[in-house]
Symmetry: C2
DNA sequence: GGCATGATTTCGGTGTGCCGAAATCACAGC
DNA sequence: GCTGTGATTTCGGCACACCGAAATCATGCC
């Protein structure tokens, strides 16, 4: 059991607990992967038999140590590829995900490490997600979700979720990029949106965006 | 019908007629792909239904124009990847084939063309095989198989078959590389081998090698 | 023209990863 | 404690790419 499907499953499970620590349910996993619940149930059973995942019937799904190791490896591959596409091939940060999703399964370890080295062994990808080292080491920066940040909090943008390419294009247009310094000004009453200052301009960001941006703590 | 399997089938068919023009039989195709004859019969039927291949029962298999176009595209991808691995990632010419065999199915056209451009749009791969242009144009150099070359013939090595990695290592050790100038000295009686001069040294090459090296005409 | 032979095709079957519909379960609210 | 509800699992089935064994065919030789 080391198919590209298995790689995507463990990566999705890992991803779910990377920035907030709650185990993932089968239906969450199914919707993240775009698959039917029944498909996920069956595959989870196989992953459990292969020792990559722990799962008691009707419960959540958690990675074993082996599963986590495979996931970390896969996350490294994905993010190295995304970084390479942006740095060396002129892709925008909203264009890299789909290509990386395929390529991550097709590169040998040797080639992937060679690409990483040629990029100077970067520690984060174009969206600020940490790139695990070849030995599996992960360093995650201290960060606060913009939605959870207190009024007055100021800090550099450390990570932006790459889940929605359209949002990434919007943010790039609004001047919000990695390392941009943001200050939380406050809530707009009844609007559900947060006012943020970026340089000399003020932006209103809705709840979706506030759930996608992480600031240095 | 545009699966990685289909891509490999049309590539194998194309390959067979690239340097000598005889149509390929199902069993030749099977042995080249490492598959059972029955598997190939079935797949050829599907390829024919998809318009990539012409085939009457019990006959040979030929590419249609569509099939040829797909094959040329695939050959380009394979050879660009091989070149990239050698030029940019320190692979030896006997190490690139397997990695390219997988990667060729995983790169988008955009990324492949970007890689090709970064290499200066090379016209041949590490083994001297011509790399088709993005528009499908192919230029094959005038060449003679060493086995067919007349005594006294002298010319640069233009192509070496990459089918046998061990042979490639042997040849590299013997100083036979792309563009090396060889002179055919003659046959060794009863040995089945051909004497060749490379620079100041003389080499005896057996029939396998003589079938693998092409000299400028 | 008949026949042996090897190539080719047909046939039944496998493993993987997926699906929708039906059955089952956990749990929250009463 | 019962029950309704939504989540989860089970079940039957499909597409793809593959296999070995059995049947069929084309051909070349007598
Ligand atoms: Mn991504
Ligand atoms: Mn993937
Ligand atoms: Mn291939
Ligand atoms: Mn080659």
């Amino acid at each position: 059991m080391q198919s590209t499907a298995a790689e995507d499953y463990v990566k999705a499970i890992y991803h779910h607990t990377e920035w907030q620590p709650e185990p993932i349910t089968p239906s969450q996993l199914a919707s993240r992967l775009g698959l039917a619940n029944s498909t996920v149930t069956e595959m989870v059973k196989k992953l459990a038999a292969a020792g990559l995942v722990r799962h008691r019937p009707y419960g959540a799904v958690e990675l074993t140590d082996d599963g986590r190791a495979l996931a970390v490896r896969q996350v490294r591959r994905h993010r190295v590829v995304e970084t390479w596409l942006v740095e060396r091939h002129g892709y925008d940060w909203d264009e890299v995900h789909d290509e990386a999703e395929i390529l991550e399964h097709a590169l040998s370890d040797r080639l992937l490490d060679s690409i990483a080295r040629s990029l100077g062994d970067p520690e984060r990808d174009p969206h600020g997600d940490p790139i695990p080292a070849a030995d599996g080491t992960v360093r995650r920066p201290d960060a606060v979700l913009l939605a959870d940040a207190e009024v007055g909090h100021a800090g550099a943008v450390v990570r932006i979720s790459d889940a929605d390419p359209a949002m990434l294009r919007f943010l790039a247009g609004a001047g919000v990029a990695l390392d941009a310094r943001l200050t939380v000004l406050g809530q707009k009453p009844y609007s559900g949106s947060i006012q943020v200052r970026s340089g000399s301009t003020t932006i209103d960001v809705g709840p979706d965006v506030a759930q996608a941006i992480w600031l240095a703590a």
